[in-house]
Symmetry: C2
Subunit: 135 residues, 2 copies
DNA sequence: GTACTTCTTAAAGTTAACTTGAAGTCAAGA
DNA sequence: TCTTGACTTCAAGTTAACTTTAAGAAGTAC
């Protein structure tokens, strides 16, 4: 089984070596084997990194991912905490989704302002959205 | 016409006094009149702040808002730059929207993982989404 | 006149997720 | 042997949008 240097792992995972060292310091990656001081990784690190990236894309913070990887996944019965975490994150995503959609409609409204009293228009658009309870 | 202290403005606008001072230092607010060293604002500051908040909710950064308020709005023909800015921001919002929706579907997929090999499931869910070009 | 509140400034702290820089080690190649 | 390239650590820098802190001044109430 091939052992990978930090820059090989970095290239294959699409991150920088410094990112991997950083992940190590914050406890996201285990301390790898060393050969004359240099890190050597098993290939399995790549799927761990993929999990991290997937979780990141799903909106988890690195702290949450660390908890997930180190505390929840290795535990005997991860179900409860895991589902709680995902459900909570799903809630956050829904809120964020509404927020983004609100931003969009705000922009779409504002783009129909004439140029004459642009500031006034932005102001009244903001007020209108406030009225609509879209905040 | 009543003149407002910084904390009155702050309360009415729903921000902290320190935020107003900060806005002043970054050029978002003009230097207000002083009475024995203390800031006094005309009520019109409130609609300017509302414009700032609206623009912020629309996803503009403070730097963009500063440019908008100081450079574009006071200029004779703001049309082009203004529309460009809003269109670009609308693009960004659409991208963000897709991203958030992607996060959601990722989470919804992952929540259907059994507990047995959760890490594997997250990994393969991530791969699946990669395949779908949803990244 | 003193206690209290609100204001002032300038500088440093906060958060997340890294990145950059400085100074040094190590192994391989010409 | 000398150079080159990749690695090492640790500390500090980056970005955005503020917040906090410290130390002090000014106005108001009693």
């Amino acid at each position: 089984m091939a052992e990978l240097t930090i820059s090989q792992v970095a290239r294959q995972a699409g991150v920088r070596p410094s990112t991997l060292r950083y992940y190590e310091t914050v406890g996201l990656l285990p301390n790898p084997k060393r050969i004359s001081g240099q890190r050597r990784y098993a290939e399995s690190i790549l799927s761990r990194l993929a999990v991290i990236q997937t979780a990141q894309q799903a909106g988890f913070t690195l702290t949450e991912i660390r908890i997930l990887l180190n505390d929840i996944l290795p535990s005997a019965s991860p179900t409860l905490q895991w589902h709680d975490l995902v459900q909570r994150k799903l809630q956050e995503m829904n809120t964020l989704l509404q927020h983004v959609q609100h931003m969009k409609s705000l922009l779409e409204d504002v783009i129909h302002c004439g140029d004459v009293q642009l500031a006034d228009c932005i102001y009244s658009t903001g007020q209108k959205h406030k009225m609509m309870g879209n905040d």
